[in-house]
């Protein structure tokens, strides 16, 4: 999971999708509720609803009548509100606390296998479409002139983000998922001068944050998600401090 968060995180930072990540996370609560309600399980429910959310967003975005952040603000909170209503039904028992803040102890062996497969799919999709993704990020018209359909690439990126958010949910929790995506990438930005370099450094920072964060959470009995985010945030501040010092010298 740490492997993929650095990679996807870079695109989130480059394309200013952090609010989008946040919105998917919001809609995942609805996904979990519906997953339990119709009996397909939390994970499938989350992936299903998040994908639906992504498609709805891309579709509404085509009209360009409203800016993306307004649109997301409407959709995300609609999904969140419906999600809260759904899980308030009596027969659904869900550990809201674990859902919001992440709890690594709720992760089962099946979940871990699911994560492996999801991560593998996401990494393969990104690497095999790497240059298309990069060009669409830079300029959509330029991409079109090379015969790339930006809509297809955007759907791809949305799908990957959805997979990653759904996978990270149990460990990081709904509230902190975006942090896990953007902090390693933002930390890496100052240290590199190529997009590939940024991905590699972001991935390393992501892995270190997850490993060290989980170690802290086990040793000191802290919640796992926040521990990971605190570790990566400290790295972020340190790298920016060194960046500022280097600039002044």
């Amino acid at each position: 999971m740490a492997l993929i968060s650095g990679l996807v995180g870079c695109f989130v930072v480059w394309r200013r999708l952090s609010y989008y990540g946040e919105s998917i996370a919001h809609s995942s609560l609805l996904g979990a509720g519906i997953g339990i309600l119709i009996g397909i399980g939390i994970n499938f429910g989350v992936v299903f609803i998040c994908l639906l959310f992504g498609i709805l967003f891309l579709w509404l975005q085509q009209s360009k009548a409203l800016s993306s952040d307004t649109l997301l603000g409407v959709l995300a909170h609609f999904a969140l509100a419906v999600g809260i209503i759904v899980i308030s039904f009596n027969k659904i028992k869900i550990d809201l606390h674990a859902f919001l803040f992440g709890d690594i102890l709720t992760v089962s062996i099946t979940d871990i296998w699911g994560m492996y497969i999801g991560v593998l799919i996401a990494i393969t999709l990104i690497l095999s479409n790497w240059s298309s993704l990069l060009l669409v990020t830079l300029d959509e018209d330029l991409a079109k002139s090379e015969g790339i359909n930006p809509l297809y690439v955007n759907i791809l990126l949305t799908t990957i983000m959805t997979i990653v958010v759904a996978l990270s949910l149990q460990i990081i929790g709904l509230l902190l998922i975006t942090a896990m995506l953007i902090i390693p990438a933002a930390t890496a930005r100052r240290l590199v001068n190529s997009p590939e370099g940024m991905v590699i450094v972001a991935t390393l920072i992501g892995i270190f944050s997850v490993v060290f964060g989980i170690y802290l959470s086990v040793e000191m009995d802290l919640p796992s998600g926040p521990s990971i985010v605190v570790v990566s945030s400290i790295l972020f501040f340190v790298s920016h401090m060194f960046g500022l010092i280097a600039k002044n010298e």
Partner: protein, 239 residues
Amino acid sequence: MNALISAKNISVIKSGKNILNDVSIDINKNDFTTIIGPNGAGKSMLLKCLMGFYKPNIGAIKTKPNLKFGYMPQNLDVIKTIPMKAKLFITIKKKFDKISLKKVISETQIENILDKQLSFLSGGEMQRVLLARSLLNNPELLILDEPAQNLDVSGQTLFYKLLQKIYSKRGLSILMVSHDLHLVMVSTKQVICLSNHICCCGKPKQITNDPKFLSMFGKDMAEVMAVYQHSNKENFENN
């Protein structure tokens, strides 16, 4: 049919507005066509249709099979969060060989800025980098959308001189949207004056005397251009 791209009676209607109205245009080999027109005249839309980005509601566009074209956008909104050297940007998703890369780099005079980050390029440098990218696949047709809009006057002059040089050296076709007609006069063979429909078209000299052109841009503009044409020609011959 020898035309590289040929559009016949195309119309584009978008949210009830007639953006392009019965426009026909042929781009032939070794043409240098400049499209001028006021804001909202459908210039960019016409380019989009010709490149196949947008399908017109009425009319047909025929493109030479396997036409290689290069596209240079107005400018690039550089996203500062992406670290990227100019050299990498030129080659993303492009099919090319080392010889054409070298040729393009020397043609557009960007040897010294290849290792610069995109976000640190000046306006003129950025335009040259974009031009280099559009030339990399050795296109038969170069399509430019207001390529010098963000440059100052001397930058514009330099850019169009460079373009003229590439045009005569490579023998490709150029289709360009530009407001700087006075600067491209010498090179342009055909001017198309667009205001949702084609008002008039012809050689630059004919255009400036066309009453329709005069009514759209005013007599002053025509005179300015006539002067420029004269002096530019002298400069050009001196070069």
